[in-house]
Each structure stands twice: as structure tokens, then as C-alpha cells.
């Protein structure tokens, strides 16, 4: 693999914090200006961003391309669906409480197996294992409902303090759920920021750029990759947990390997060499796909063309391209 060196960021932490604060303020104010449908889309976008953020810890920071992240997203979704059907309360906190340990254990288990390989074999191994889950969800129909999937009722939020029923229940749910997901999203972004800038995150990047050198420095490479896999899968699983009450239904489609491809696509669209890339990618991808599905029944064709064009002319993604333009401008200014 060709080692690509990330250019050190010239911007100060202060500027970044200011930009992030501005974005958060816009996001907080958004429900006042947009309709329910737009807000619902935005929630899907934030969820996709969480999934891609987790995925990118492996691709962007550890240099491992997983083609099986649908497994963790789907396990999260199905755990919630099963918990809602067989166990107690329809409460979001309960879903999180049940779902998070399950996705963490699943990612730990699968990760333990998968990190024995790198590069293309890692990709195929993750894909094969994710398809075990897919085929089980598809075929054990008396548990999972087969290809019909499972319905998930609208949960109460904040330990039952917010319940949504009646004619305007859906609208209220969307607005409340938006803030709920936004809060979790912000926590996830901060957490991931801390992870990738911690010594652990730096070690991952060291392993990515030069495995041999990292090993000579005494890093236990497989252990690092395993923990990265665990964190990555858990983030993507959390996205699945948050996704299913909004969608109201989970089918084996979210476990199929092409959905893993969509997660890869998302990260690449925003740019996997940047921290903010997957976040931008998740939101843009959600809008792009919704727009295409609304305008043509051949949306997959459109997405395919976008993907091929992207890898041909814009391999660093949206954020990568923007920061490249910014760099050029700054260079020109300092030269003048």
C-alpha cells in the first residue's frame, strides 16, 4: 500500500473550536426553520455521520478497509428490534442500554478474528463474517421475521419523560429525537476527537503509516488494531441503534454487504484522510441518496457514477478537496 502522509494542519485549535461551535449553533436552531421532513432527513444524516465516523477510525486512522461494517449497524438495529419485541419498556435509554453492550461484544469478537489480516484479506474476512449475520437474519425467520424484517415502535425518550402519541405525536417525536440524536452525535464527535488525538490514536496512525517501524517501537500492533476495531464497530452499532426507531423497521438489507459498501462510500465522499470528512460525508450522502431516490428510480446508477467520478477525480473527498484549495490559497497569500 502506498503510504500517504497527512499534511499537518496549520489551523489553530481555537479556530477549529470556533467553527465547530458555529456549526453546532446552526444545528440547534435548525428545527425552527425547517419542516418535519427536513429535520427527519437531518437525523438520518447525523446517524450516517456517526456510522462513518466509527468506520473511519479503521480506514482513515488504522489503514484497514472493512467491507463488513453493515454487520455492526445491523446488529445494533436488530438488537433494538428484538428487545422491543421480547423485553420490557419501549424506551430509548433501554434500547441503548441493551444495544450498546451487544454491539460492543459483537465487534470485539469479530474484530479479534479479523485483525489477524490486513489489506485485501482483512476486507474479505470482514465481508464474509458480516454475511454470516446477514444469512442468519434472513433465514431464521421465526426469530427475525426473515426478509419482512421487524417493526420497532416509537420509543419514549428520557426515561419515559417524553412520550409521543396522538395526532401530532410523529412531529413531536421528530423534533425531540433530533435533539436527542444531536446530543449523542456531539458526544460521539468529541469522543472520537479525543481518541484520535490521544497517544492511542497516534499509535494507530503510526501503525498505518509504517507497521514495521511501529513494531520496533514496541507497539503491540494486533492489540491496537483490535481495540480500534472494537471502538469502530461500537460507533457504527450505535448508529444502527439510533437509526431503527426513526426508520420504524429493520430488514436484512442493512446487514447485506452492499450496505457496507455504502458506509465505505460515505467515508470516501467526505474524505477519509480528514477527521471531519466522514461527518460531512454522512450528511451529504444522506441528502444525495434521498434526492436521487426522489427524482429517479435509477438512483443506484446515479450513485455509482458519483462514486466512480469521485475516486477518479476527487480521491480525497469533499473535505480533502476544500482543505487543498484552502492550502493553495494560503500558500499564494504567503508567497505574495
Amino acid at each position: 500500500m502506498v503510504a500517504q502522509i497527512q499534511a499537518p494542519r496549520g489551523r489553530s485549535g481555537f479556530g477549529l473550536a470556533a467553527a465547530a461551535t458555529a456549526v453546532v449553533i446552526v444545528l440547534i436552531l435548525a428545527p425552527g426553520y425547517f419542516g418535519t421532513y427536513q429535520i427527519q432527513l437531518l437525523i438520518f444524516g447525523l446517524i450516517a455521520a456517526i456510522a462513518a465516523l466509527g468506520f473511519n477510525l479503521l480506514l482513515g486512522y488504522t489503514g484497514l478497509l472493512s467491507f463488513g461494517h453493515s454487520a455492526y449497524f445491523g446488529v445494533g438495529a436488530y438488537t433494538v428490534a428484538l428487545a422491543a419485541e421480547h423485553l420490557g419498556p419501549h424506551s430509548m435509554e433501554f434500547y441503548l442500554l441493551v444495544g450498546l453492550p451487544v454491539v460492543a461484544v459483537t465487534s470485539a469478537l469479530f474484530g479479534y478474528i479479523c485483525v489477524r489480516h490486513t489489506q485485501i484479506f482483512f476486507g474479505i474476512l470482514t465481508l464474509a463474517i458480516s454475511q454470516v449475520i446477514y444469512s442468519l437474519a434472513l433465514n431464521l425467520y421465526w426469530v427475525t421475521g426473515g426478509s419482512d424484517g421487524m417493526r420497532v415502535p416509537r420509543p419514549a425518550l428520557l426515561f419515559g419523560a417524553l412520550r409521543f402519541s396522538g395526532p401530532s405525536g410523529f412531529q413531536q417525536f421528530i423534533t425531540s429525537y433530533y435533539y436527542y440524536v444531536l446530543a449523542i452525535f456531539i458526544v460521539c464527535v468529541l469522543l472520537m476527537w479525543v481518541i484520535v488525538h490521544s497517544p492511542f490514536g497516534k499509535a494507530l496512525q503510526g501503525i498505518r503509516d509504517n507497521e514495521v517501524r511501529a513494531r520496533f517501537l514496541g507497539l503491540r500492533i494486533r492489540r491496537f488494531r483490535w481495540i480500534a476495531f472494537l471502538v469502530s464497530g461500537t460507533f457504527t452499532g450505535l448508529a444502527g441503534i439510533l437509526w431503527v426507531p426513526l426508520e420504524g423497521l429493520t430488514t436484512p438489507d442493512v446487514l447485506y454487504w452492499t450496505f457496507s459498501g455504502e458506509i465505505v462510500f460515505t467515508a470516501l465522499l467526505g474524505g477519509f484522510r480528514n477527521f471531519t470528512g466522514p461527518i460531512v460525508g454522512g450528511i451529504v450522502y444522506t441528502y444525495l441518496k434521498t434526492y436521487m431516490v426522489a427524482h429517479t428510480s435509477y438512483w443506484q446508477l446515479g450513485l455509482g457514477v458519483v462514486l466512480v467520478t469521485l475516486v477518479l477525480v476527487l480521491p480525497t473527498g469533499i473535505v480533502g478537496a476544500i482543505s487543498l484549495v484552502g492550502q493553495r490559497l494560503r500558500q499564494r497569500r504567503s508567497a505574495a
Binding site: 500500500m1 500517504q4 434472513l138 438512483w299 455509482g304 475516486v311
Partner: protein
């Protein structure tokens, strides 16, 4: 006993189709070091083109015997498609990180899947006239279509021809040389670009042939390629990526396990295959016969 014979024949039928897909996938990986995620879709294109050609042939009153010529035509159409795709889409990616190679073939998959829907619509396209044209024989009192035997025969012939082409022709030597060391082969005066195009074309031809011979037994449907790709993955993972022998043995193992699975444990049938693939990758990442 008769049932067992028929199940073995069914496995062999499935094995020949799987071999055709997996051998192409493996050949492309062996020579070009690209895992072609769109390979299953190329197989589906073969099925659709063949079914469409047969349907058109029937509509224009082409005699039944001639319709069998549509099978190689379907495969050739896919080969032509491959010859266009390789220089246009894949060539810019040989020197780039493999993430991009995977992604560009994933994009190609999405494009091909929707193009098939655009051209042939959502309804399944069948070519069962070919299957009905051949007699049905009795095996131990049970009916068995001769067409299935033809498919098995085509699989065997394809394996032999491919083996002979790779190990006993001048082009085969060029192919193996390029596979082992692309730059050295180029330095020795081989036209590596041409070898790549031809190798990709052959791989696509195999996939297309797989689709062409399978379509009379089951209609061409949307999504058949995407499903076939993961199974082909299992085959090459078991046999070893880039190994022809591996594709053959892998195809036989997978098809027998799958036939047994459908018979005895239908719910876990697919899961078992992926578990086997994962186990092989863990214990012997290069597969049974792989060297890469």
C-alpha cells in the same frame, strides 16, 4: 440411491457455474491484483443478454438448434464489455491504493445493476425454451433434464481449456509472467497493457458464460449477480485467490456443502458457507492452493 445421484449431479451443475464465475474472478485477481466487486454483475449481464437474445430469436422464428448459439454470444457480449471497462475504468487504478480499486469496482457494480434494470426492466427474463428443447432422461426412475448435463459438460470443458491456455500456450506464459512480476515482464518487452485487457476479457467471458448457461435453468433476475459474487468470494477464499485449481476445488466444495445444506439444514445453509470461508482465511489465509 437415485436421489443421491441426482443431488450429486445438481451439485456438479452448480459447481460448473460457480467455477466459471470464480475462475474469472481469480484470474483477474491473479494477473491484475484487483478484486473485482462487479464480477457478479458481469455474470448477471451474461444471463440477461443470453435470455434477451433467445427471446428475440424465438420472436423472429429462429430455429431451435440455432438458439443454442446464443449461449456463447451472451458470453462474448460480456467479454466485449470487459474489454471496454478495463482501459476506461480500471487502468488508472493499478498504481493506487487498493481501497480505490475496490471502490471503483463497487461503483461499477452499482452502475451495472441499475443499467440492467433500465434495459431489461424489473421482471425476470427466462430462456427455458433451451432447457425444454433437450430431452428428459430417467435416472433410477426419476426425471432429469439433459440440459443440466450439458451445463456440467461445459463447466468441465471450460476448466480444461482454461488450464491448457494458461499452462500450455505462449499467451499463458505471458500471462503468468505478468502475474508474477509486472515490471519485469514489461522490461522484457511484453505488452503488459494488452495482457491485462485480454486477461480481463477472458475473466469476463467466463463470468458471462456462467450467466449464459445458467439462465435456461433459472430466469435472469435483478440482484442475481450481487448474490453470486459473495458465493464466488467464498469459493476463491477456500481455494485461494489467484489459483485456477483453487477455483475448481473451491467450487466443488461450496456446491456440495450448499446442496447438503439445503437438504439437511436449510436455515444455516448460507451461514455455514461463510463460516467455512472465515475459518479457511484464519487458518490458511492463502486458501488451499493459493500462493499470493
Amino acid at each position: 440411491m437415485a436421489i443421491l445421484t441426482i443431488q450429486i449431479l445438481n451439485s456438479l451443475l452448480y459447481a460448473s457455474v460457480l467455477f466459471l464465475i470464480a475462475a474469472g474472478l481469480s484470474l483477474i485477481f491473479g494477473v491484475m491484483r484487483i478484486v473485482n466487486l462487479a464480477h457478479g454483475s458481469l455474470y448477471a449481464v451474461g444471463a440477461y443478454v443470453t435470455a434477451w437474445l433467445v427471446g428475440t430469436g424465438i420472436a423472429h422464428g429462429v430455429p431451435l438448434g440455432w438458439l443454442f448459439l446464443m449461449l456463447p454470444c451472451g458470453a462474448l457480449a460480456v467479454a466485449l464489455l470487459g474489454i471496454v471497462i478495463e482501459p476506461l475504468l480500471l487502468r488508472p487504478f493499478y498504481t493506487r491504493a487498493e481501497e480505490y480499486q475496490l471502490l471503483v469496482t463497487f461503483g461499477l457494480l452499482q452502475i451495472l445493476e441499475d443499467l440492467m434494470r433500465l434495459v431489461w426492466g424489473g421482471t425476470p427474463l427466462s430462456a427455458d425454451t433451451l432447457m425444454d428443447a433437450l430431452p428428459i432422461i430417467k435416472i433410477g426412475g426419476l426425471n432429469y433434464p439433459t440440459y443440466d448435463l450439458l451445463v456440467i459438460a461445459i463447466g468441465i470443458v471450460a476448466a480444461v481449456v482454461l488450464w491448457a491456455a494458461i499452462y500450455h500456450t505462449r499467451f499463458g506464459v505471458m500471462l503468468r509472467a505478468t502475474s508474477q512480476d509486472r515490471r519485469m515482464a514489461s522490461a522484457l518487452g511484453l505488452n503488459v497493457g494488452l495482457v491485462y485487457v485480454v486477461a480481463f476479457g477472458i475473466g469476463c467471458f467466463m463470468a458471462g458464460l456462467g450467466g449464459a448457461i445458467v439462465v435456461p435453468t433459472q430466469a435472469a433476475v435483478l440482484g442475481m449477480g450481487v448474490d453470486a459474487l459473495v458465493i464466488a468470494f467464498v469459493v476463491v477464499v477456500i481455494g485461494g485467490l489467484g489459483s485456477l485449481k483453487g477455483a475448481l476445488v473451491g467450487a466443488i466444495i461450496v456446491s456440495f456443502v450448499r446442496t447438503a445444506g439445503i437438504q439437511f439444514f436449510p436455515e444455516l445453509e448460507l451461514a455455514v458457507l461463510y463460516v467455512i470461508a472465515a475459518l479457511v482465511l484464519l487458518v490458511r489465509p492463502t486458501g488451499l492452493f493459493g500462493t499470493a
